[in-house]
């Protein structure tokens, strides 16, 4: 039996009068890959961003590894353990690739530079960009930037990674290089929550697929259950539009 790593109960989020999340219950087990799909505006990105408090939830509770998340009080402790990969990469443009990778381990984990660089180089090799160590982000293609962003998150040695539409800002020919890195992470046993429009990836890599619409989890199950035998009408209509 796998242990629960992330446990979300009754999560609500309002932006002013707009209710974006209306009560989400979600448990993510260790080493599980959960893929969240849904139409735009359904709240799937907001859900992901609430998990590490980039958006402050309006209600509900989030527990990581048995530690209840209580806002600014312990958020940095949790963020150390839960990395995030953004749609628009958000690399630090004034730093080289290597500097991007060693900054947080040195400042947050108080690692020595030598050690941080050793880890950084290990992950740059893993994402196939070791030869770009001294390049600046703007000198890289979108796909390369996103692979650096993944390596940057990995350098904190997180226990889980959140992916917020990691391939949506990429040119089509660069999507696969990023998905391949994500697949290999999943194979290594990384706990992952992925918001994506890449249904092929969801089907192949996901242990569980969640369909989110209107602020609720409408349906969830194995990729085969959700993609091949969707029970809910809203899931069926969404899938018929995109598949």
């Amino acid at each position: 039996m796998k242990t629960d790593f992330i446990k979300i109960t009754g999560l609500k989020k309002n932006f002013g009068d707009l209710e974006v999340l209306k009560g989400i219950d979600l448990t993510v087990a260790e080493k599980e890959v959960v893929v969240i799909i849904g139409p735009s505006g359904s709240g799937k990105s907001t859900l992901l961003r609430c998990i590490n408090y980039l958006e402050e939830p309006t209600g509900g509770s989030i527990v990581f590894d048995d530690i209840p998340l209580n806002g600014e009080a312990n958020i940095n402790e949790v963020r150390k353990e839960v990395g995030m990969v953004f749609q628009r990469f958000n690399l630090f443009p004034h730093m080289t690739v290597l500097e991007n990778l060693v900054l947080a381990p040195m400042k947050v984990r108080h690692m020595h530079r030598d050690e941080a660089e050793k880890i950084a180089k290990e992950y740059l090799t893993k994402v196939g960009l070791i030869e770009k160590s001294d390049a600046y982000p703007e000198q890289l293609s979108g796909g390369q930037q996103q692979r650096v962003a993944i390596a940057r998150a990995l350098c904190m040695r997180p226990k889980a990674l959140l992916f917020d539409e990691p391939t949506s800002a990429l040119d089509p020919e660069m999507i696969n290089e990023v998905l391949d890195v994500m697949k290999s992470l999943a194979n290594d046993g990384m706990t992952m929550v992925v918001v994506t429009h890449e249904m092929g990836f969801a089907r192949e890599v996901g242990d569980r697929v969640l369909f989110v619409d209107g602020g609720y989890i409408v349906e969830q199950g194995t990729p085969d259950e959700v993609f091949s035998h969707p029970k809910e009408e809203r899931t069926q209509s969404f899938l018929s539009k995109i598949l």
Partner: protein, 219 residues
């Protein structure tokens, strides 16, 4: 009208010494203004309400009143409050610094706000604190963008510091007035004073554009 070049050459040493003092007052004021502006812009971004309120009132008051009146406040009104007179140099520097601080605070705020929100999110998502993200990620990027407006602020201060002549502080403009009082050569002297200001502002503008280019290539 006779144009008397000799008056200008005779006055030049005095005027140039005055220009030196103008540069000194401007540099000190913008220097202190940088420190004040940095602090003010940071406290305007905190979640502590009284601090934020103070920052806003400060910037609104300074930007909403003339520098000349601010100089009078420090030189004439402050002594009435504290009971002894204020040195002209101190009054000039403090009025100009306080004034510059408000404008620099706005420049900083603009620079910081121009940095993509994703940068703060990326820093925070890696477990860095707000201040660490500010210091290592946001401010270094913002700094590059505020060089041109800071240069403009320094140029503005070079010119506006002429206002401290009204409290008898002997910078370039005041020197000009004093020489004219002696020689009555107002055309020659004001022309010379104007040209010296022009030379100074032009030099600073060139320096700023060089700095700008250097930071652009080396990131």
């Amino acid at each position: 009208m006779n144009f008397n070049l000799e008056i200008i050459t005779n006055a030049m040493p005095l005027l140039l010494a005055g220009a030196g003092i103008t540069i000194e007052v401007s540099a000190l004021s913008v220097g202190f203004g940088l420190a004040i502006g940095c602090i003010i812009s940071l406290i305007r971004m905190t979640s502590i309400k009284p601090l934020r309120w103070f920052g806003n009132v400060y910037v609104d008051f300074i930007r909403g009143t003339p520098l000349l009146v601010q100089i009078f406040l420090v030189y004439f009104a402050l002594p009435a409050l504290i009971g002894h007179r204020v040195d002209a140099f101190f009054a000039a520097i403090s009025a100009c610094s306080i004034n510059s601080g408000a404008y620099v605070a706005e420049i900083f705020r603009g620079g910081i706000q121009s940095i993509d929100k994703g940068q703060m999110e990326a820093g925070r998502s890696l477990g860095m604190t707000w201040w660490q993200t500010m210091r290592f990620i946001i401010l270094p990027q913002a700094f590059k963008r505020i060089i041109p407006p800071l240069g403009n602020e320094f140029i503005a201060m070079l010119k506006d510091s002429s206002l401290v002549s009204v409290i008898g502080f002997e910078e370039l403009t005041r020197r000009g007035q004093l020489i004219i009082a002696r020689t009555y050569a107002s055309f020659e002297i004001w022309l010379a004073v104007a040209l010296i200001y022009l030379l100074m502002t032009f030099a600073v503008a060139r320096l700023v554009s060089r700095l700008e280019r250097r930071y652009d290539t080396s990131r």
